[in-house]
Symmetry: C2
Subunit: 333 residues, 2 copies
């Protein structure tokens, strides 16, 4: 696997694997955007605004590639990819409201322009449309998985709201990143396999492929929170820790520096955290071996994911999925 | 059909039709409450609090009776009834947050005790569980209907947020009460028929039964907003009009009194409304013929509903549904 520095910046800007699904993705975008037809005009405008903000579309890309690899029927795959991205979008709309975030993907969030009531309802509407699309894949186990995944995500967010601040615990971290990110990415590859003409063993492999990729994805996000360029990540460096959220780099740092004043503050259960001490801790973590150790763990998840990547004669999709997997741990934002 | 004054108060307090489904309803309650198992403790407590607040359980009662009338399989019917009530509950949780309501059904709303973020997420969680239960009825058309109904409800709430204030328009009113109330009640009887061993004609009859009943239900709510006892309704008299929401009694009053100062203010598009003028208007509507006219319209919907009540040898359920239909327009809260 290439190291983080081996991929050129231009490669990261427009990774090739996106181009393999470009035509499909246009159909996915169109399907998402038409969900506001026949709706109240302000709602339609809000949906346009949110979807127009773009985003990497990692999830539908992953779903499309996995489904094509496994021979999923075209129309159902497009529907599934749109359902997955809308579910993700709905959770972002409510998340931004909860965090009071004013910008996402460089443009204003809905709640920066709309009232909280309108934002809550727009998120609900997008949930409803995601559920409708999921139902239109005509696959009941997929529908159940979809509902279950939403419950896992929301339960995880509530746990983060109530208990995670200031907690430094490996198991809690693993549960949290599963709920926050890996559950939906796992669902994406799992569901793509479910609607494909493949046996249960392949479905389970596809699930594990997505699960491990999802874990790697969030670990990388947590590393980038320390190492990323503010301009590219769009948040201040160490924003998680500033908010009392202990992620993998900090967990490694705690292991190695139990006597660091910031570490002692966290382990002592002092919350809210002293921001001056935290600022020092962020700098210390950034430049410590905790970063390469966390990166290594992310890469190990990617390696594990690739072990579960179903074998297939479809060479193009398989290579694109390998590229996508490497992109996840090599990206800069 | 009995007049509004012909039903004794005690009859209204514990209508007999509820007792026909008492055993089933206990299973529905248990199924709803166990949705929080394995969840974050605060979320579990919130779910307990919300479900413990009770409510009339009109929707699951209607679903259970309709399903039993039509021979729906027992377990799927219980699951459907729980899904319907949880969907309703989730919309109430977000509604109360949006309205800033501190009390519902005489007990504190979630947002009176919790932060807005926790309330948003709890509503989302209940949506997720409702969707999961709907999927567990193993009926894809039902699942699509479920998602579509959620979209209709939310779109209606957004329309109310953006455009309905101060609007006096019959068609807009009809659309609004369909979205707000009738759509879910229509879904309830429709879905109960969908999972029953009956033909398409009966399914369509069951849908129209629910649709008309739902329209009557909201019209009666709108009448009670003027005529109800504050203690029983739990809101100030005329609260809709005070908030700029023109409902059926006011629409009839406007027809008959185009020169009333309050009417001229509304028709002139003056919004926000002058509260002193509105207080006079509320009193005028309360004591005018607009109330019996609106009531008559509600009753006409009930009569129409009963024309669509499927014929059946199941005498007990059929009579209970007739009683439930009459209860809707005879209730005091």
């Amino acid at each position: 696997m290439p190291g983080i520095s081996s991929a050129g910046k231009n490669d990261l800007k427009t990774p090739l694997f996106f181009s393999h699904v470009q035509a499909d993705m246009q159909q996915v975008e169109a399907l998402m955007r038409c969900q506001g037809a026949d709706c109240q005009a302000d709602l339609r405008a809000a949906l346009e605004h949110i979807l127009g903000a773009g985003g990497k579309r990692i999830r539908p890309t992953l779903g499309l590639l996995t489904g094509r690899l496994l021979g999923a029927p075209h129309e159902r795959l497009i529907t599934l990819a749109a359902a997955v991205e809308l579910l993700h979008t709905a959770t972002l709309v409510h998340d931004d409201l909860i965090d009071g975030a004013l910008l996402r993907r460089g443009i204003q969030t809905l709640n920066a322009q709309w009232s909280p009531p309108a934002t809550v309802l727009t998120g609900d509407f997008i949930f409803a449309r995601a559920a409708k699309l999921a139902a239109e894949t005509d696959h009941l186990p997929l529908m159940k998985l979809f509902a279950e995944t939403l419950a896992v995500i929301v339960n995880g967010e509530l746990a983060q709201l109530f208990v995670a601040r200031g907690t430094a615990d490996r198991e809690e971290y693993t549960r949290r990143i599963y709920a926050k990110t890996a559950s939906l990415i796992e669902m994406t590859t799992w569901a793509a396999a479910m609607i494909s003409p493949v046996d249960e063993v392949v479905v389970e492999s596809a699930r594990l492929f997505g699960y491990n990729l999802g874990m790697a994805f969030q670990i990388m996000d947590d590393v980038l929170d320390f190492t990323g360029e503010v301009r590219e990540v769009g948040k201040p460096v160490g924003s998680d820790l500033i908010q009392g959220l202990v992620t993998l780099p900090t967990l490694y740092y705690i292991d190695e520096h139990p006597d660091d004043p910031g570490v002692r503050m966290i382990l002592g259960g002092q919350y809210p955290l002293d921001l001056a001490v935290i600022a020092d801790l962020v700098q210390a973590v950034r430049t410590s071996s905790a970063i390469p150790r966390a990166l290594e763990e992310g890469r190990a998840y990617v390696e594990k994911a690739l072990q579960f990547l179903p074998a297939s004669p479809q060479g193009i999709e398989r290579q694109a999925l390998i590229d996508l997997a490497h992109y996840i741990v090599n990206r800069k934002s």
